[in-house]
């Protein structure tokens, strides 16, 4: 068994009266994209800052390949991080931003041009960063994270401000990084961004771990055996299904949601009573719904 790329163990941190992290533990494995999800203010960024040695936890530890971040001799070659794409000096060009980062790690300027090409920054890299769109800044941030060609990446909300095309590109890019064997930790407050991207999900709410699971398990867990039935004989269908022991709800004039009976049994009941039906489908929850379900309790500032 390989050592986890990132091991977070029992992080606790208090900001004044607010408990920002309340015993967060999880691991990030090589070759996987690990989604780190939770509503705004759930503690994602704080956890990432602790991983990167920027904030000190009151309790617990965060290790990168078994070492504390501050003990890494050349941090950028172990962990690439994107915390805040807007953290740029507006007068400095993107290329020069990468250049000082490269110098700090004893990397050559050639490496800067490599990541500029890799992220498709092109000629924009020589313009002052103050004029970049948010999407451009995200790309520059990813370029900075890749500068040391690290086996571990920590990216805080990299989809923020990206257009749909950019989001699609970013998903593919993250998958390709994981496919190379890198461990990728990506945070987002929108689960949908991580659909089809993350292999593993760490869900956090109010500083507590809500779920640490795979995407498939998460969806299965929430779908909870609901079946959608489309039928022109809505009233009769409701009565026979209820009679068979199911809980039935009408969601549209020709649609029912049935729980308590599986699809096979529903088809049998409807056919047995001679009722027409156009569709009987086990309903698959979207990742987003699964996430909403999970974090309902944990959402800190719930809409009233």
């Amino acid at each position: 068994m390989n050592e986890p790329s990132i091991a977070v163990l029992g992080l606790r941190k208090r900001f004044g009266s607010m408990l920002a992290l309340d015993g967060v533990s999880f691991t990030v494995r090589p070759g996987e994209v690990t989604g780190f999800v939770g509503p705004n203010g759930a503690g994602k960024s704080t956890t990432m800052r602790v991983i990167l040695g920027l904030d000190t936890a009151d309790e617990g530890s965060a290790l990168i390949c078994g070492r504390r971040y501050r003990d890494l001799p050349r941090p950028l070659c172990h962990v690439g991080a994107l915390l805040d794409a807007g953290a740029l000096q507006p007068g400095r060009s993107g290329r020069n931003h990468l250049l000082w980062l490269a110098h700090s790690q004893g990397l050559r300027a050639r490496r800067v041009d490599e990541v500029i090409d890799q992220l498709g920054l092109g000629s924009a890299a020589r313009r002052p960063a103050g004029g970049y769109s948010l999407g451009m800044r995200q790309r520059l941030g990813i370029a900075a994270a890749l500068l040391g060609d690290p086996p571990v990446l920590v990216l805080d909300e990299p989809f923020n401000g990206m257009d749909p095309e950019g989001i699609v590109w970013m998903r593919g890019f993250l998958r390709s990084l994981a496919a190379q064997g890198r461990a990728v930790l990506v945070s987002s407050h929108l689960m949908s961004e991580l659909q089809d991207t993350a292999d593993h999900l760490v869900v956090i709410g109010r500083g507590r771990l809500v779920a640490d699971t795979t995407v498939a398990e998460l969806i299965a867990g929430v779908s909870g055996g609901q079946v959608t039935v489309r039928t022109s004989a809505q009233r009769q269908a409701m009565s026979v299904l209820a009679g068979a022991g199911a809980a039935v709800a009408a969601v549209a004039s020709d649609t029912l949601t049935v729980s308590g009976l599986d699809s096979e049994r529903i088809v049998a009941v409807l056919s047995g009573n001679g009722l027409p039906f156009a569709e009987v489908s086990a309903r698959r929850a979207t990742l987003e719904e699964a996430y909403m379900e999970l974090t309902r309790e944990a959402v800190e500032y719930q809409a009233r």
């Binding site: 890494l72 915390l83 740029l88």
Partner: protein, 529 residues
């Protein structure tokens, strides 16, 4: 399980040298920093030249030259001289039985040529009797009656006992205590070749040598005799909380000499009296005179024989060509503070600290980069200010105090150091406060305010104390004028005199900078980024 990714970048180091390189790259690649750096030099030069251009000396019929002593320093050379030539070796012995002094009233002085006031015993209306502590009456041997010529003298003074002085800057104490007819003092000054010996006695029998000095190149025949002089009286009025008026008023002293005994060859035809150096450029002195009654010679005189002190009246120093340093200093403080607070404002500090988790080193690298860059800019600004400023001052007929190239270099390098340390201190305070405007204000108040704003309004003692203990002590590096205990001068920082030597004042500033940097490192390590 996927095999972990292996980084393909070539091996390298992320040590302090790389960190320094990174911070320099940051500094170099942001146009804002480079403009700020240039502004340090440009602001210094422009403000210096502006100030120099404003220092116009205007005199009717051309400005008289300031007398310069044998060592090239500007001197005050105004006294009443009762003299005759002395050929070769010889000496004078005399008994001084009385010394009194007067401060003429304003009515005595206003509207009349100073040289005619008090001339030849003319009575001064409403004069206030007061003997200046550094009023002098005694024997003098001078190379000639030219102003600034080499001399040696023994004298009684108003408040500092018997002294032997020579060539303006040298002063040796004899017996202390005042003189009176009941307690006179015998003085003797003898010449043998280039050697002059001054002696004193309380009874004319027991003699004590005060000092023996060499005046190289003294001519065979010198002018020797009795002299009396009395220095200016500085009247200070504090009328408004922040404004101080001071006026320098001339004074006059009168000495009574008895039983003059001459040794050696005196080829002249007896005593003649001359008011030397009255009126003296920039130095308030009135006329004098003498009369002889039997063995009693009464001599009155005004002025001083001493190094010129008090920049305003007499000349300009390198200080005056560096008046723009305060402008450069403000820019340097802004530059130093923003070099870190801008990173806080943009959130870039997190990138910086993630890249280099050893935070103390980060601050050290930043300090070295911003300090060295400011030092170089300060060096350029100060050097240009001195070179161009002196030209402007000269063009405005100002007398420039001569100073050695080494001393000028010291002031230029010291000024650059002052700017660099101020920038580093601002960086440290910026790291502590994480807020640009706050840091700039704090450092400005600590360094610049005591010197430029508060100091002139405070009593001298408080001002001098501030210049010792506050970071403003760093301004001592601009000190080029020595203080002379034998001259009661305006030794205030505003006139270019600092209570600490240049290196000590700079050390005080550096200590503050080091403390600030230490605290900043402590806080940076402890706090979340």
């Amino acid at each position: 399980m996927t095999r972990p990714y292996q980084s393909t970048v070539p091996a390298g180091r992320a040590g302090f040298a790389q960190l320094l390189h990174a911070e320099w790259t940051k500094f170099r690649t942001d146009r804002g920093w480079m403009i700020g750096l240039a502004a340090v030099a440009v602001a210094t030069v422009l403000m210096s030249l502006l100030s120099a251009a404003g220092q116009q000396r205007q005199c009717q019929g051309g400005c008289p030259s300031t007398p310069v002593g044998p060592a090239g320093e500007p001197v005050t050379d105004a006294f009443y001289f009762v003299h005759q030539p002395l050929a070769g070796s010889g000496g004078i012995t005399v008994r001084v039985t009385s010394m009194t002094g007067l401060i003429p009233s304003v009515a005595d002085v206003v509207g009349r040529p100073l040289a005619s006031v008090g001339r030849d015993g003319e009575p001064l209306r409403d004069a206030q009797p007061a003997l200046q502590p550094w009023a002098k009456a005694g024997i003098i041997v001078a190379a000639s009656t030219e102003l600034g010529s080499p001399y040696a003298a023994v004298m009684v003074t108003g408040g500092h006992g018997v002294r032997m002085q020579y060539d303006y800057t040298h002063d040796t104490a004899g017996a202390a205590g005042p003189i009176s007819p009941a307690s006179p003092r015998w003085l003797r000054l003898t010449r043998a070749g280039d050697t002059l010996t001054g002696s004193e006695s309380a009874d004319g029998v027991d003699w004590r040598e005060i000092d023996t000095v060499r005046l190289a190149g003294l001519p065979a025949t010198v002018e020797a005799g009795l002299f009396v002089t009395s220095p200016e009286f500085a009247e200070v009025n504090r009328r408004l909380p922040f404004v101080t008026f001071s006026s320098d008023r001339p004074t006059q002293a009168t000495g009574v000499f008895q039983d003059v005994v001459l040794q050696g060859a005196w080829p002249g035809a007896g005593w003649s009296g001359d008011d030397l150096g009255v009126p003296n450029e920039g130095y308030p002195a009135i006329g004098g005179g003498f009369h002889q009654a039997g063995a009693v010679l009464t001599v009155s005189g005004s002025g001083d024989i001493a190094p010129a002190v008090g920049v305003d009246g007499v000349g300009r120093t390198i200080d005056d060509s560096l008046a723009g340093v305060f402008a450069g200093l403000i820019v340097a403080i802004v530059l130093g503070a923003l070099f870190i607070t801008a990173e806080y404002r943009r959130g870039l500090i997190r990138t910086t600290l993630a890249v280099s988790p050893r935070r103390g080193r980060v601050l050290a690298a930043k300090a070295i980069v911003v300090g060295s860059a400011t030092f170089v800019a300060g060096l350029a600004g100060a050097a240009l200010s001195v070179v161009l400023g002196e030209q402007v001052l000269r063009a405005n007929h100002n007398f420039i105090y001569p100073s050695s190239a080494l001393a000028e270099l010291g002031v230029i390098v010291g000024t650059a150091g002052l700017l660099a340390v101020a920038a580093v201190a601002a960086l440290a305070v910026g790291a502590m406060l994480r807020h640009g405007a706050g840091a700039i204000t704090a450092v400005f108040v600590a360094i610049v305010l005591p010197f430029y704003l508060v100091l002139p309004a405070l009593p001298d003692d408080v001002g001098r104390w501030l210049m010792r203990v506050t970071p403003a002590a760093g301004f001592s590096i601009q000190q080029v004028l020595p203080e002379y205990p034998q001259v009661n001068g305006p030794y205030t920082p505003a006139s270019g005199y600092y209570p600490l030597p240049a290196w000590a004042g700079f050390a005080v500033l550096c200590a503050y900078g080091a403390i600030a940097l230490g605290l900043a490192v402590l806080l940076l390590r402890r706090r979340d980024a």
